[in-house]
Amino acid sequence: MSDDALHATPDAAAVAEAPKPRRERLSPAPVDPVTGRPDPSLLKPHQAALRQAVVDAFNAKKARKFLQKQVHHISANRELADGIKFLFDEHGRPPGNVPLEDIIEERRMVEYHVMWIEGVLSEMRHRLIKIREVEDYALDMLARSEHEND
């Protein structure tokens, strides 16, 4: 098939030859001129409420499915969760460039990061308690001194 013949069919047409009537988008959310994406914050209040109800229902369904998967995972005695089954071939082998050593190393690294972040959080909470005590004491002193001046 020649180039000309191919371009002459509707399935593979040069776009420049296509008619270009101006069309309106169908999304009810007006397009934000900066991002070029529909902005739901510009919807009318009743539209926004109805939209939010759909989003909430979607999220609830997702959460329910996630929990169901977790329960299945636990009850199946550490059976491979459905969510990651697709990573493995029909014999249960992981992909060629995902060696077990890398998985273990990554798991250890994530655990290390979690411990490190938990340590930092604990330290900050401790400091926060101390600072609050100092702040409370200082405010208390200030109030007392103002009372005495009166």
Binding site: M1, K20, L26, V54
Partner: protein, 303 residues
């Protein structure tokens, strides 16, 4: 620097397969989904932008990490992905167009081929492609609205429709409606392509490529200034040979549609094209395609 070739399409429009096929051309290099033009600066892929949660951000980085690992490290392993993170860290304040330009220059004389369906959800993102690469070519891939919408609703419970605010809202109800996404994303692409010189753009139906890949891949190759001999076409028939046609290392598993990653081999087939007045599998109320969707589909050659 060889001008890259970008595939523009809504998701679930054969983009993963066609991108990998074109990328197997001896004069081309098929990239995973880099998602670079979703943000302005590279660091924004890590810190995120409004409305995008961290999990999706991490997934959006997998393609870039795998590409950098492969191109600069010669393989995709946990070690080269670490190297890729350092590579990205050194460029974190760069404009993403500049980052892409560096990758394209590194691949020269091969033509970079990339598709990130997230580009087509906003015209400014596509303008970013043209700004970074004024000579780039753009292949607008089309899929029948009913088949594409059905596929969208089967993935992640149709989350893509929410991402582009494709809701049908009436006085007393709202539902997710994927045909709005099909229509509006294709409209975004058409609007952007009005700014692109005609010689740099081509529109093709995915179903036609699937049914007669050799003819259509050869046509794309000629349009892109690439060889169209038998050897080149034969290479393109093997997308599974792409270094990105599989899961990546544990630290960057994805970078493409997981369905494609788990089964990238191409099997020629003639996709069934339903009539435009058929029942819609995702609607329980018997409603059919909107007139605006039918009109646009007609323009794309569907009846």
């Amino acid at each position: 620097m060889s001008a890259p070739l970008f595939l523009l399409a809504p998701p679930r429009s054969y983009t993963s397969l066609v991108n990998a096929m074109l990328g197997q051309h001896p004069q081309a290099f098929g990239l995973p989904e880099l998602c670079l033009f979703n943000v302005e600066r590279l660091v924004d892929l890590w810190v995120g932008v409004e409305g995008e949660n961290a999990e999706r951000g991490a997934m959006a980085r997998h393609g870039l990490m795998r590409a950098v690992a492969e191109i600069y490290g010669g393989e995709q392993s946990a070690a080269t992905v670490n190297m890729a993170r350092a590579w990205a860290s050194a460029r974190e304040d760069w404009d993403t167009g500049r980052v892409f330009q560096e990758i394209v220059a590194r691949l020269h004389p091969l033509v970079a081929v990339e598709k990130s369906p997230s580009y087509a959800i906003a015209v400014p993102r596509m303008r970013g492609l043209l700004k970074a690469f004024p000579d780039a070519r753009f292949l607008h891939l089309i899929r029948h609205p009913v088949a594409q919408c059905k596929s969208v609703m089967a993935i992640n419970d149709g989350a893509f429709t929410m991402k582009v605010n494709a809701f049908e809202i009436d006085e007393d109800y709202a539902i997710m409606e994927p045909q709005i996404a099909w229509h509006d994303v294709n409209l975004n692409i058409l609007e952007f392509l009005e700014e692109v010189p005609p010689a740099q753009q081509l529109r093709m139906r995915g179903e036609d490529i699937m049914a007669d890949p050799r003819t259509h891949l050869a046509a794309i190759a000629r349009w892109a200034g690439l060889r169209d001999d038998d050897e080149a076409i034969e290479e393109m028939m093997h997308p599974e040979r792409s270094p990105f046609a599989c899961f990546g290392p544990i630290t960057a598993l994805f970078g493409n549609d997981p369905n494609f990653l788990s089964g990238p081999t191409f099997r020629p087939h003639k996709p069934k094209i339903p009539p435009l007045d058929t029942d819609l599998p995702w609607r329980k109320d018997g409603r059919r395609l909107y007139p605006q969707v039918v009109e646009l589909a007609n323009e794309f050659g569907y009846v």
